[in-house]
Symmetry: C2
Subunit: 254 residues, 2 copies
């Protein structure tokens, strides 16, 4: 049998690593590094720095994994993700069987927390349920970008006794702000879906959270949204990519 | 000026501490330990163990803080919490001013992540906005029990392109499962509100997450709910207290 770790490595700052994650890193013989797009080089560098800094107990290999192409023009977003997911599943089955020797340990390093908007747990669950699994696996939680965002803005994510919604830019744009939620966290928003929101809300926005390039903006949405769009575009032009997330909070009546 | 840290310390396992949290712990002169109820002694012991293990750079004091009484019989839950919150705010103003010397550093250790169902950020925000604040403060995110739950069950918290709701037992019991959410995380549930759910869902339940007493149960809600109730009651009787959380996931059509 092989052992596979899925290790949450936080949002970008190597100081986000937990003691549990560092212990896991030190059991690993093979790290799989999966990055894609324009941010690839920069993100891969952070992962390698994390291995260099913390995985000091024994020698290890780093295997860079090419992400299967995803059809980003497909209007049926869920379908496109699912077919990409199937390709990735077969790719990971190969990696685990051929890159990890029997009795050895491999790891996937997940940005943020592996349970939020990451495919890896779904893939491993599927592989582990096949007739003769060749590996067992363990998940190590990590600090998500949502938590870094809340910490940097020093805000709670919930009202007293209230509920929190975590959703995507796509869903926000198509369905609007969910009812009954004072706080809505929005992830995976490539298109400034906050500009479609007409409710009176405050926004707490952050990009490149936990890194030297971090940008934070907060305020009443209607007052700051053009500023966020402008700064977002400028940063994206300068770096070639952007990762951002935000919280929308309904304004209470005075 | 004084410096105050709010440090997320994870769900119970000292290995949940991040490198960032450990660095912060080592700047602290005074730790405030606030616990209450039957779990008080056990939880205070975990916090002290965390200080002992990680805060090694300089001497520190631990100040145990009595929690103001909260009227748990008040049917207006939000109001009761708010008046308790006001009492706590004054108490913390006193603590910061009188227990931390000028130029020194204090810290509140928050279970899980400080941004989820914890009053401390709301209180500090209020104090810091008063006319002459005597302190500045910084928030360090931590691994929440939700993330430990997901990691132990090895489940994603979202469907592909889906949304996640985080709510309380009280809200689940009064309003039912939120529409448009495949995954609903329930926290602060003292009364097994899952028994009020009639939708066909899977449950992923966990108690004392990250500790030696951890219990995990998962399955189709209708099949496992009595088992969870039984085990929950037994554990609570044995230890005198329980902390649990769970995820409900709508079953997909085959």
């Amino acid at each position: 049998m092989r052992k596979v770790f899925v290790i949450g490595i936080g949002a970008g700052d190597p100081d986000h690593l937990t003691v549990q994650a560092i212990k896991a890193l030190n059991e690993v013989d093979v790290f799989f590094v999966v990055d894609k797009g324009d941010e690839k080089a920069e993100l891969a560098a952070v992962r390698k720095e994390i291995c260099r800094r913390y995985a000091t107990a024994k020698p290890y290999r780093i295997v860079e994994v090419d992400d299967p192409a995803r059809d980003r023009t497909d209007p049926a977003y869920g379908d496109a993700v699912r077919s990409w997911h199937d390709a990735r599943t077969e790719q990971y089955a190969e990696l685990i069987e051929h890159e990890i020797d029997d009795g050895k340990c491999g790891a996937f390093l997940a940005w943020g927390d592996p349970s939020l908007y990451d495919s890896i747990l779904r893939i491993l669950c599927e592989l582990a349920s096949r007739s003769t699994p060749v590996f067992e696996y363990e998940v190590v939680p990590g600090i998500s970008s949502v938590q870094v965002l809340a910490a940097k803005h020093r805000i709670p994510l919930n009202e007293i006794a209230g509920s929190v919604a975590i959703t995507t830019g796509r869903r926000l744009a198509s369905s609007g702000l969910p009812e009954d939620f004072d706080h809505v966290v929005v992830m995976l928003d490539g298109n400034c879906a906050f500009t479609t929101v007409t409710d009176d809300v405050d926004i707490y926005w952050g990009a490149y959270l936990g890194t030297d390039d971090e940008i934070l903006v907060s305020g009443r949405l209607r007052d700051v949204q053009s500023d966020i769009q402008r700064r977002r575009q400028r940063a994206r032009d300068a770096k070639g990519w952007i990762m951002d997330t935000y919280v929308l909070r309904r304004r209470r009546l005075p």
